[in-house]
């Protein structure tokens, strides 16, 4: 399977359903480490960035692996 075909088959609508979860998980996780809202939002932004970056890296790895399947 071509990598781009794999990405297309993921379906962008499914990715859209992940975004609210990324936001909520980041906010709640950050809120368990800080007490003040500005610090919570700063930590949540960093956390969300990490989650999205991890999802992109895993997606790319799976796309590359799928090229050999």
């Amino acid at each position: 399977m071509k990598p781009l075909v794999f990405v297309a088959q993921l379906g962008w609508m499914y990715i859209g359903y992940a975004l609210p979860l990324v936001v909520v998980i980041s906010l709640v996780y950050a809120a368990t480490r800080h007490e003040e809202l500005p610090a919570i939002f700063r930590h949540a932004f960093g956390c969300a960035t990490w989650i999205v970056a991890l999802m992109v890296v895993v997606g790319l790895i799976m796309a590359v692996v799928s090229a050999w399947l």
Partner: protein, 217 residues
């Protein structure tokens, strides 16, 4: 409670009755924090966790089969709904599922248009309610999405409950590398006041760790 105290002392968060706050936090997400007067975090938990749960309930149902079909309690050998163990972390919002499960188990029809009612077992011919297979066929991937959202909401509330019980987890990056008390442990359990390192980046290097503080309980 807010802001930075003078000198190197970390701010102290008064944790009013941690046990009761944790119980309230389980019953309604964020309620424990609101009880403790931590309004901002309580509201944040309430909106984020309850919003995720409600959205999952919305995704996992429709007008025909009933809403909230992804949240149901069933431990029958034909349908072990272990997902409910995670969903129950949200607390009272899952109470209808418990009520519906007992009604169905007693051979009665569920209330509220099958809201959070367990699906009919394949071996049960006494009702025309949809089976789990029929729910999947009807709701497609929304059944899985709704299940995922509601499970994550329940699991996130466990973090919120812990926060109501013991205060914020200390930020390792803001700790001193050398603790002042060699006998201090990283976790000092629930207490009436939780101290955390300062929130401002400029003063992080001068903060004492939470482990250095003596519990005031």
């Amino acid at each position: 409670m807010s802001g930075q105290t003078e000198g190197n002392a970390p701010e102290t968060i008064p944790l009013k009755d941690p046990g009761l706050a944790a119980l309230l936090g389980w019953l309604v997400p964020g309620l424990g924090h609101l009880y403790q007067g931590r309004t901002a975090k309580g509201t944040l938990f309430l909106v984020c966790i309850l919003g995720t749960f409600v959205y999952g309930v919305y995704l996992g149902g429709d007008r025909e089969v009933g809403w909230g079909r992804v949240v149901y309690m069933s431990f029958h050998p034909e349908d072990q709904r272990l997902h409910f163990l995670c969903q129950a972390g949200v607390g009272l919002p899952t109470l209808p599922a418990v009520i519906q499960a007992f009604r169905v188990r007693g051979g009665r029809e569920p209330w509220w248009g099958s809201f959070m009612a367990p699906p009919r077992l394949p071996s049960d011919r006494s009702s025309n309610r949809p089976t789990l297979d029929e729910l999947h066929k009807r709701l497609h991937h929304y059944f899985e999405l709704g299940t995922l959202y509601t499970m994550i909401a329940g699991l996130l509330n466990i973090l919120a409950i812990y926060d109501a019980w013991a205060g914020p987890v200390r930020d390792e990056s803001a700790d001193h590398p050398k603790p002042q008390s060699p006998s201090a442990s990283a976790f000092d359990g629930p207490h009436q006041g939780s101290s955390i390192p300062g929130e401002s980046d400029s003063s992080e290097s001068t903060q004492q760790s939470k482990a250095d503080q003596t519990p005031s309980a």
